[in-house]
């Protein structure tokens, strides 16, 4: 087996140019958007590098600690990550690796007799499959990373703070005020109050579909925390039917001031801070 592997390696080396051309032709035909994303010259350089390392791995195919093997993996991983970022489909990324077979097999067919050919194809197959699997795993991993990042980013932007006026900030609340988001809202509110030296915080709840006792509790907590920092809290976006429902529920918003519209809330905030709209 070892001897054959060496022979294959020599052969690949000898026909490197031809394999290189075949492979690139395949890529342009079968993975066009990938080539476009990477760039034609870069693709050429990448295939050339991979081929060079591949030829070095071949004689020692099972040695995964092999320096060249690690280098191929590295190139493929980088390519794969790039593909994820550019939204290239996983199948095109797979084609990149697997089309290498179509460029190597013709050379083997020309040079080997039938008996050797079967073994040689098997050896090349094994190695390329392994590379393919590795590439695919990186693809999935980076995909997961990206999704995680996006979720993280979404969480961060989901509680924005708007400085609407001197000493007045506004936080539009959206969706379900679950514990996690409330926690975030509180942190952001208190931090914003501190940093901006604001005296009034308007919490707008127009974007909260259901105001139940849990939401009410969170709002009350936020308001008293703001008060502890010497600021006033105004809750806006309390539509009539929500106010009525809260009363029926028996919720007492206590000291928290509420207003139906943002405009009314802002008006009150200006009065509380001795300011006027010009």
């Amino acid at each position: 087996m070892k001897a054959l592997n060496k022979e294959v390696s020599l052969l690949l080396s000898k026909h490197r140019e031809k394999i290189f051309e075949l492979w690139n032709k395949q890529l342009i035909l079968r993975a066009r958007s990938l080539v476009e994303a990477v760039g034609i010259d870069e693709t050429k350089q990448m295939t050339l590098d991979i081929l060079g390392h591949f030829i070095n791995v071949m004689p020692d195919q099972d040695d995964q600690a092999n320096d060249s093997y690690q280098k191929v993996l590295k190139i493929l991983a980088a390519m794969s990550r790039k593909m994820t970022l550019q939204n290239i489909t996983p199948s095109e990324t797979a084609i990149f690796v697997f089309s290498m077979k179509n460029s190597i097999f013709p050379v083997l067919q020309d040079e080997f007799d039938e008996k050797k050919l079967a073994d040689a194809i098997m050896a090349v197959n094994q190695l390329i499959d392994l590379l393919g699997i590795n590439t695919f795993e990186t693809y999935l991993e980076s995909r997961e990373e990206i999704i995680n990042e996006q979720q993280q980013a979404f969480k961060e932007v989901s509680v924005p703070v708007v400085k609407v006026w001197d000493r007045i900030i506004m936080i539009p609340l959206i969706g379900m005020l679950d514990s996690e988001r409330t926690q975030m809202m509180m942190e952001i509110l208190l931090e914003a109050l501190e940093n901006s030296q604001s005296k009034v915080a308007i919490l707008d709840i127009s974007g909260i579909p259901v105001v139940d006792t849990l939401v009410a509790r969170h709002l009350i907590t936020a308001a008293s925390a703001a008060q502890l920092m010497g600021a006033e809290c105004i809750i806006t976006g309390v539509r009539a039917r929500i106010a009525q429902t809260l009363v029926q529920l028996g919720v007492d918003l206590g000291g928290v001031v509420t207003r139906t519209t943002m405009a009314d809330g802002l008006q009150l905030a200006l009065e509380l801070t001795d300011q006027q709209m010009h």
């Binding site: 259901v210 039917r241 919720v251």
Partner: protein, 139 residues
């Protein structure tokens, strides 16, 4: 509860987390919209549903909500929501219904509030076995 009979199909939603509560509320809101309930009625009932569904999650771990249309007397129609769980049950229902009573250190307004928010409210609970609450809102 007055004679009410189930008509047409019913919907079952298993509820074990906060996402499920959102789904349950959306489903109820959608059905009520289709049945032409007023926006105020929708707000009241969806809020009650939110309370009862959350109680199943926080006090019983999980449960099931069943929804269906019912026909009442004098050609009225209504929406019935049943909340069933196999949680610890409630020792003293009167006490649990009281404003401010909570074993979870929260507002303690959900149960009594839900009753005030809908037309009909029936609660059954067996300690150690579970709780079943049904509410009806008539058009």
């Amino acid at each position: 509860m007055p004679n009410s009979r189930q008509n047409s199909e019913s919907f079952e939603i298993m509820i074990s987390n906060f996402e499920d509560i959102i789904l349950a509320r959306q489903k109820v809101k959608f059905l009520m919209g289709e049945m032409c309930f007023s926006l105020l009625a929708q707000t009241r009932i969806v809020t009650a549903v939110s309370e009862l569904a959350r109680n199943m999650v926080t006090h019983a771990g999980q449960g099931k909500m069943t929804l269906f249309q019912v026909d009442g007397k004098r050609k009225t129609r209504g929406l019935k929501c049943i909340f069933e769980d196999k949680g610890p049950g409630i020792q003293n229902i009167d006490e649990a219904m009281q404003e401010g009573f909570s074993t979870a250190n929260s507002l303690g307004l959900g149960l009594g509030g839900a009753k005030k928010l809908c037309n009909e409210f029936k609660i059954e609970s067996v300690p150690g076995k579970g709780t079943s609450i049904s509410i009806i809102e008539w058009l």
